[in-house]
């Protein structure tokens, strides 16, 4: 079971608490996880990835096993730690700065 951690405002918008749990068939890629999140919670379409282009929104980051995966292509396979649920796939709002 894949664990996905959303930022606070997207959990509120999707009306979920805690982590999302997704059961995905292989290959489990960055894009497949995001597709599954948006399929289950359509209100999140356009909030993580832009409509149409599916490009990551500028001020969101993806973290996997303590590493920044934001720039990884969507077809990148996720590591076993995420696939077996030991580590979450984290979607994080970038710091605001200022």
């Amino acid at each position: 079971m894949i664990r996905v951690l959303l930022p606070f405002h997207l959990r509120t918008l999707a009306r979920v608490e805690g982590e999302l749990l997704l059961d995905l068939a292989p290959p489990v890629t960055v894009g497949a996880v995001l597709d599954a999140v948006e399929a289950r919670y359509p209100v999140l379409r356009g909030t993580i990835r832009e409509h149409g282009t599916l490009k990551r929104r500028a001020f969101l980051r993806y973290f996997v096993c303590q590493a920044d995966w934001s720039l990884q292509p969507p077809e990148t396979l996720l590591p076993d730690e995420v696939i077996n649920g030991r580590e979450p796939f984290m979607i994080i709002g970038a710091i605001a700065g200022g």
């Binding site: 405002h9 997207l10 918008l13 399929a39 359509p42 209100v43 356009g46 409509h51 929104r57 970038a94």
Partner: protein, 388 residues
């Protein structure tokens, strides 16, 4: 007894105030959508329980929220899996999707080159006067969208951008359709105003538009005194009984037209400054209008640190300051273009919100004011519903 519902959009959420017709004791609910920017929310006159809200964030983009119970509960229309399934199994769009029609096209950029239109957010929502499922959205980069299914899907009316859109150039505050006025006597006529582009009118329900900026003067922004577009219109307003008469607060200058925008005349008169953002019309007196003078385009606060609403009972030119109950020293807030509204009770109520988080109400046409709240986040918009 009548009741009042005030809808307030702020930098950090939406708030709803309610009171009976005396407008003295207010109940405040919120923040709704806490932490999100709420540029605007507005109720339908056809069904006052139907309220649309624009919720946005630099991180997460644009969301449209809708309430069908007067703001008690909210939903994102068009975002359930069932609603997304169109004929043949293909997706048919989401409520928060604003895609420009056809070829995106370009507008003028700061360096004189052309720049593609890029959707940023919904600034203003204007529900139809007759159908609660129909509403218009004014967006940045400037365009107008329409929904006929209660906000599930939105389609652009691209004729607006076809009205010399290639010449429009954003100002420092962005380039947005911030005002949409519906003519209550002619369902085919609408007006919009766009910062740094001007005012526009349609006579065919939004298919085609024409600039209506003759008589506006912007000598330091527009070298061409006859420029049809490029004027920084901050707000326009009308009285429902006389939709051919419009009042305008421009970047500088307060103006009026008596022929639906074909020709404008300056009516700044004795205002201490004719720079400002909102302008509104008394509910029962079509020649009584309100503005909030701001010191200058470089100093967005009231002259002399005195927060004064100015009222003209003569449709402009002759103005009187309204100060009772408003701070008359050390006040350096701004009042944004969508942050003033009127109710339709007798006497007429006037409301406005400030960037300092105060929302003021006058239950006597502006003669005296009380603060409903004082410590909200910066107020972006104020709308009022008069409920029977």
């Amino acid at each position: 007894m009548s009741a009042i519902r005030v809808l307030v959009g702020t930098k950090k959420g939406a708030f709803i105030f309610t009171a009976d017709g005396r407008r003295q004791d207010w109940t405040v609910s919120g923040p709704h959508f806490a932490g999100w920017e709420i540029y605007h929310l507005k109720g339908s006159t056809a069904d006052p329980n139907r309220i649309y809200a624009s919720q946005s964030s630099g991180w997460f983009g644009q969301i449209i929220q809708r309430s069908d119970d007067g703001g008690l509960t909210w939903n994102t229309p068009g975002s359930s899996p069932e609603e997304l399934q169109g004929p043949g199994g293909f997706p048919r769009g989401e409520s928060n999707k604003f895609a420009y029609a056809g070829s995106v096209g370009t507008h003028m950029w700061y360096d004189g080159t052309q720049h593609p239109w890029e959707f940023k957010r919904v600034w203003h929502l204007e529900p139809s006067l007759t159908d609660p499922d129909t509403a218009y959205a004014g967006v940045e980069d400037a365009a107008i969208f329409k929904t006929t299914d209660g906000g599930k899907t939105w389609q652009e009316l691209p004729g607006l951008r076809g009205s010399k859109g290639a010449l429009w150039q954003p100002g420092a505050g962005g380039m947005a359709v911030h005002t949409i006025l519906l003519d209550p006597k002619n369902a085919q006529r609408m007006y919009v105003a766009i910062s740094a582009a001007g005012a526009f009118r349609t006579e065919d329900g939004g298919v085609t538009w024409k600039p209506i900026n003759r008589g506006l003067k912007s000598p330091y922004q527009l070298p061409d005194p006859d420029a049809e577009v490029g004027h920084c219109v901050h707000r326009i307003a009308l009285h429902p009984s006389r939709p051919d008469v419009l009042f305008m607060q421009k970047h500088w200058d307060v103006l009026r037209t008596d022929n639906a925008g074909d020709q404008w005349t300056e009516v700044s008169g004795n205002l201490p400054s004719d720079f400002g953002f909102p302008i509104d019309v008394h509910a029962h007196e079509p020649e009584t209008i309100y503005v909030v003078p701001i010191k200058s385009d470089s100093e967005h606060y009231p002259p002399e640190g005195k927060l004064r609403v100015y009222r003209s009972r003569t449709g402009g030119q002759e103005w009187e300051p309204l100060t009772k109950g408003l701070p008359q020293k050390d006040c350096y807030v701004n009042v944004l273009r969508d942050a003033m509204a009127v109710d339709s009770l007798e006497p007429c109520g006037i409301y406005f919100g400030t960037t300092g988080g105060q929302v003021y109400c006058s239950a006597d046409g502006g003669d005296s004011w009380q603060a409903i709240v004082r410590d909200l986040p910066a107020v972006y918009s104020v709308e009022v519903q008069t409920l029977s």
